[in-house]
């Protein structure tokens, strides 16, 4: 019989994720550019605010997340540029690959890039702003993972929306920023608590909020992505 049986969602997801990671690995120059851009952003905050160490330490979490947010625009745009080239995304659609697997694979790939970048930026932030981790590195890692997941899910969905527009580079931040501001605030607050201590036991609430935003963002992306990529 002609035709092809469709493989399961998890297997498709794993293949799409592996493909994205392989492409990132083969084009490491893009990853290097991302790291340099984020590092430069942290450096600019440090120079712009001058030698006020207390101010820098107080707001270090905010600067870290702004650097990650700006860098995420580059990473997200790039992840759909490779799909636009040669209409590769159309090719996957027509195979057919489950569009929800495409969303999960691409969003997890983007999250992996952002989490990796966050772990590179933490020692830079500590060095530049003179901060130390009051709670534990494990709690900082959980904050970074939850925050990056909250950027990557809506970022992937909106990158797909923007990828067909002429002004895609302008459209992506216009769509993304308003949506992720609440999650970003929670990530900044959680990071600040991890860095400066948690006398009021707020961290659990911020984690809960971040987890809630993630549930909403990933759920919406999972449901809406098939509609976005079909004409």
């Amino acid at each position: 019989m002609n035709g092809s049986p469709r493989i399961g969602l998890l297997r498709s997801l794993a293949l799409v994720l592996a493909k994205d990671i392989l492409i990132e690995w083969r084009t490491r120059a893009r990853l290097n550019a991302l790291v340099i851009f984020a590092f430069g952003t942290l450096l600019i905050f440090s120079f712009a605010l001058g030698p006020d160490t207390q101010l820098l330490q107080r707001n270090a979490g905010g600067y870290l997340w702004l650097a990650l947010l700006f860098a995420s625009l580059m990473a997200l745009g790039e992840s759909f540029r490779i799909e636009r080239e040669n209409s590769a995304l159309d090719g996957l659609r027509l195979l057919p690959v489950d569009p929800r697997a495409l969303f999960l694979g691409k969003a997890l790939g983007n999250a992996a890039v952002l989490v990796g970048l966050a772990f590179v930026l933490v020692p830079v932030m500590i060095g530049l702003f003179g901060v130390s981790i009051s709670l534990s590195f494990g709690l900082l890692a959980v904050t970074l993972v939850l925050g990056c997941l909250a950027i990557s899910a809506p970022g992937t969905l909106y990158s797909a929306v923007a990828s067909n527009a002429r002004a895609r580079d302008v459209l992506l931040p216009l769509l993304l920023f308003p949506l992720i501001i609440p999650a970003l605030l929670a990530a900044v607050k959680a990071t600040t608590v991890v860095l400066q201590g948690d006398p009021m036991s707020q961290l659990r609430s911020w984690f809960g909020l971040l987890a809630g935003f993630n549930l909403v963002y990933w759920g919406l992306g999972f449901a809406l992505f098939p509609l976005v990529i079909e004409e």
Partner: protein, 216 residues
């Protein structure tokens, strides 16, 4: 389902903005036939092939492929239809072998790497299989695209300008592959400007002009 035509169009129209690319096309293509689709640039050939492949949807009318409706049975159609398009649908940063292996794994083909390697041999790309696609010429990309199509073993093969960018040896190879598809019973729709060449391959012809069926 076996009795349904391969492709059935009833008053199918497609609009892009204010422009009608196809206007009220009606046609029925029986299974196992080979159709030559001709017409000048902008006549709607590519649009029609993309509609049949479910890459886009008709604005008006009813389109069925193997008896399945393109509006609500896309996935079933996609499992049985393959499109060779102007775009190659391949990843520039992966090698030819990695591209085909990925596709065959996504299609659930067992021994995906061996299958990919054997198809690369069949289209004459075996020596280039580890090279990234960025280093490929237009003709090599076309060969890879046909290997990608063959991977799927489709019931309906849609070929949009399959001879474009190919050298004489590549054209011969493409012709052999198309004949093989037809012999195997695959329904083939071939859109090309090389009408005389196409006539030697196909037993039916449909001519489009300004989005309408016209006399050739």
């Amino acid at each position: 389902m076996e009795n349904h035509p391969a492709v059935e169009l009833r008053d199918v129209s497609k609009r892009f903005g204010a422009q009608w690319a196809l206007a009220r096309i009606s046609y029925s293509l029986p299974r196992g036939q080979s159709l030559l689709l001709t017409g000048p640039n902008g006549s709607g050939k590519t649009t029609l092939l993309r509609l049949i492949a479910t890459a886009s949807s008709p604005t008006l009318g009813e389109l069925r492929v193997l008896g399945l409706n393109v509006r609500d049975q896309r996935e079933e159609i996609r499992q049985q239809v393959a499109l060779l398009s102007h775009a190659s649908f391949i990843y520039e940063d992966l090698s030819a072998l990695q591209n085909l292996s990925l596709m065959s794994r996504l299609l659930g083909i067992k021994d995906s790497k061996q299958r990919a390697a054997s198809l690369l041999s069949e289209v004459g790309l075996a020596p280039h299989s580890p090279k990234p696609i960025r280093q490929f010429s237009a003709g090599m990309r076309k060969r890879l695209a046909i290997a990608r199509l063959l991977l799927k073993a489709p019931a309906v093969a849609l070929l949009d300008e399959p001879f474009a960018a190919l050298d004489p040896s590549g054209m011969g190879q493409m012709e052999r592959i198309i004949r093989q598809l037809i012999t195997q019973g695959t329904t083939v729709i071939l859109a090309t400007h090389q009408v005389e060449h196409g006539k030697t391959l196909c037993n039916l012809r449909l001519h489009l002009d300004s989005g309408r069926v016209a006399a050739p």
